[in-house]
């Protein structure tokens, strides 16, 4: 999902040591009673990013977003926007705008009045407001519906008005709270593309909160995975997917097979792990060297496993299993195969060639095989 603009950038801003972040979160902690909603979070977000805070409910992502918006004040730490400390600045004085999960459109005002609200608070001249409102309506393709009231709009239309209203003041930072949660699947996909387009056209930095990992992966430049108030990993979607730093991240994003084991041998780029669940010694890549004897998890993505009817020769990482479950999804099929030890592995096969015949059947005995470079060892 990268645009030409992005592809041209030589170095991503988060990898450039000289780049100044537009948003810097320093050691922010927020407690409610005895619970740590946000626990010592530090993060740098750069101009033009579409940043996602991803996590399950209760992980603190919404609280962190509210702190960025000024609706909560952290107990510890600082929030710097464009270099200025804004930790204690109230929402109406921040160059930040928020798109609320419930859209929060003012029911007693028309669409135009809603969008104009923020501009009126700044006491801009009426003609300027009129132009800006028209431009915003154009941006979200709601040009004809300016005179309507929110209760006369559909869910998708209301969402677009909320977005237009939040962008009207051209804020430095736009916060989005579960923006696609209320939409149905088709609309969601369409809106994902639209949101990214609008973000690139306006050049605004977006920070989005979501529990849907597909959404985060599709739309963001970088994702921060959160759990229990802490950030577990921050990286680009592909990095998170292929190089998760922990069992938590590996399981949270996408589907994964997780094998527990102990390291028995270490080589140049890979280790040999003796698995506990399956009678198997697995070769897997590591990010950093791991001493022999450590207990680890091995993560293998389902699409990286191949199945064959005949036992392949000369391959490492081969195990035999029997098909116990099939899910046919049209473009892919998911197979669950149970090994002789009773452990179930999940495999995904793409139907690249047109054929109505299923590849494999329940009860088929097949061989699963994968490369060492496709399995990753996790210590966390």
């Amino acid at each position: 999902m990268s645009s030409p603009a992005r592809r041209q950038a030589q170095v991503d801003p988060w990898q450039d040591p000289n780049a100044e972040p537009i948003l810097r979160i320093e050691g922010v902690t927020k407690t409610f009673g005895k619970t740590y909603a946000v626990d010592d979070v530090s993060l740098d977000i750069f101009r033009g990013e579409f940043f996602a805070l991803l996590g399950g409910s209760g992980c603190g992502k919404s609280t962190l977003l509210r702190i960025l918006g000024g609706f909560e004040v952290p107990d510890k730490g600082r929030v710097l926007i464009d270099g200025t400390d804004m930790t204690h600045v109230p929402p109406y004085e921040r160059p930040v705008n928020m798109m609320f999960q419930s859209y929060a459109l003012f029911p007693h005002m028309t669409v135009e009045q809603n969008i104009a609200f923020g501009l009126k608070q700044d006491k801009r001249p009426a003609s300027e407001i009129g132009d800006r409102v028209a431009a915003m309506l154009d941006l979200v393709k709601m040009g004809q519906l300016g005179r309507r009231k929110p209760d006369q709009l559909s869910g998708g239309q209301r969402q677009r008005v909320a977005l237009a209203r939040a962008l009207a003041k051209a804020p430095k930072l736009l916060l989005l709270d579960e923006p696609l949660g209320a939409l149905d699947k088709k609309l969601r996909e369409h809106t994902q593309f639209e949101l990214v387009n609008i973000q690139e056209r306006t050049g605004t930095t977006f920070v989005m909160v979501t529990h849907d990992q597909e959404e985060a992966m599709t739309m963001s430049t970088r994702v921060a995975v959160m759990d229990a108030g802490r950030i577990v990993q921050v990286s680009t979607p592909s990095n998170l997917y292929e190089y998760p730093n922990s069992k938590f991240v590996a399981e949270f994003i996408g589907a994964v097979n997780m094998l527990r084991g102990t390291v028995v041998d270490q080589q140049e780029e890979r280790v040999l792990v003796h698995c506990h669940d399956v009678e198997l010694d697995v070769w897997a890549r590591y990010v950093e060297p791991i001493p022999v004897g450590t207990d680890v998890n091995v993560a293998i993505r389902p699409e990286k496993i191949d199945v064959a009817e005949a036992e392949p020769s000369g391959m490492e990482n081969v195990v035999r299993g029997r098909v116990v479950e099939i899910a046919y999804l049209g473009d892919v099929s998911i197979y669950h195969l149970q090994t002789d030890d009773g452990f179930v592995l999940r495999v995904q096969e793409t139907h690249a060639a047109r054929s109505a015949d299923p590849h494999y059947n329940w009860g088929d005995v097949l061989y699963l095989v994968w490369h060492a470079r496709d399995a990753i060892v996790l210590t966390a």
Partner: protein, 269 residues
């Protein structure tokens, strides 16, 4: 819904409403009575309405009651709405428990307590600082405000609980200071509750006899106090006539409001 239920339910409801309205019917009916009696019907007459218009004491008392009720309700709405806002929207703050307790306690307190305590306060204040000099409109009004604030708070709080809290956050996020948020966003959404609270407070103040008895002084008899004093010697149907007029006024007012709202809804649809 089950077929048998409605019939049984309707009977009970009708009985309940009849119970409510029988005395009122009696009041209205006997205002047209030929004799002084309020329990034996003799014949139709408009005599008491004529007498009412000449009875200065009753008219004065009625006007005084209306004045006090208007002042007390308005003040109660202002104070009560503030309390409702604070308790509903301000999250946790120091003293929240105290405010919550104070603003709901008068709801469940007997009138005698409120009346006698208010009076004792005024007596003590008079001793200490010279105000209030004797009891009158100001003391009654203050006592009524204290009574009504909690009712307003309940009504407004319930409405605030139903409105989306994020609307106010959105307004702040777009640059409006809290005061503006209240007038531009909150108030347009909760004004029916404020109106309902005002009407409720008005009724309570107008109807109160115990508190007014304690906190009124010479020359400031409210209508209920006047009626109470007359009750001991026998009420003349003049009072019935007054009550009937009030009932008619209320019915007209309510019907008008209902018709206006109906028209409003139809126009919006």
């Amino acid at each position: 819904m089950n077929q048998r239920r409605p019939f049984f339910l309707y009977t009970l409801m009708v009985f309940g409403y009849a119970f409510l309205y029988l005395p009122i019917a009696s009041v209205v009916a006997f205002s047209f009575n030929e004799t002084r009696s309020v329990s034996l019907w003799k014949g139709f007459s408009l005599e008491w309405y004529g007498r009412l218009l000449e009875n200065q004491a009753v008219i004065d008392a009625a006007l005084l009651s209306l004045l006090i009720a208007a002042m007390a309700s308005t003040l109660a709405v202002v104070i009560g709405t503030m309390a409702a806002l604070a308790l509903s929207r301000f999250g946790r703050f120091k003293g929240r428990g105290l405010l919550s307790l104070l603003s709901s306690a008068p709801l469940v307190m007997p009138d005698v307590m409120l009346g006698i305590s208010a009076l004792f306060l005024f007596i003590t204040l008079q001793q200490l600082i010279g105000w209030p000099e004797g009891r009158g409109i100001d003391t009654i009004t203050i006592a009524h405000v204290t009574l009504c604030v909690c009712y307003v708070t309940v009504v407004v709080r319930s409405r605030l609980a139903q409105t989306d809290h994020s609307l106010e956050e959105a307004a702040m996020d777009l640059g409006a200071r809290p005061w503006k948020v209240f007038f531009l966003v909150t108030l347009p959404l909760i004004w029916p509750a404020l109106l309902a609270g005002w009407l409720l407070a008005f009724t309570l103040s107008l109807d109160d006899v115990v508190i007014a008895s304690f906190t009124s002084g010479p020359g400031s008899s409210t209508l209920p106090v006047l009626i109470l004093s007359k009750v001991r010697f026998g009420v003349t149907p003049e009072i019935n006539a007054l009550a009937t007029l009030i009932i008619v006024a209320v019915c007209v007012g309510v019907s008008l409001a209902g018709w206006l709202m109906h028209r409003n809804n139809r126009r919006a649809a």
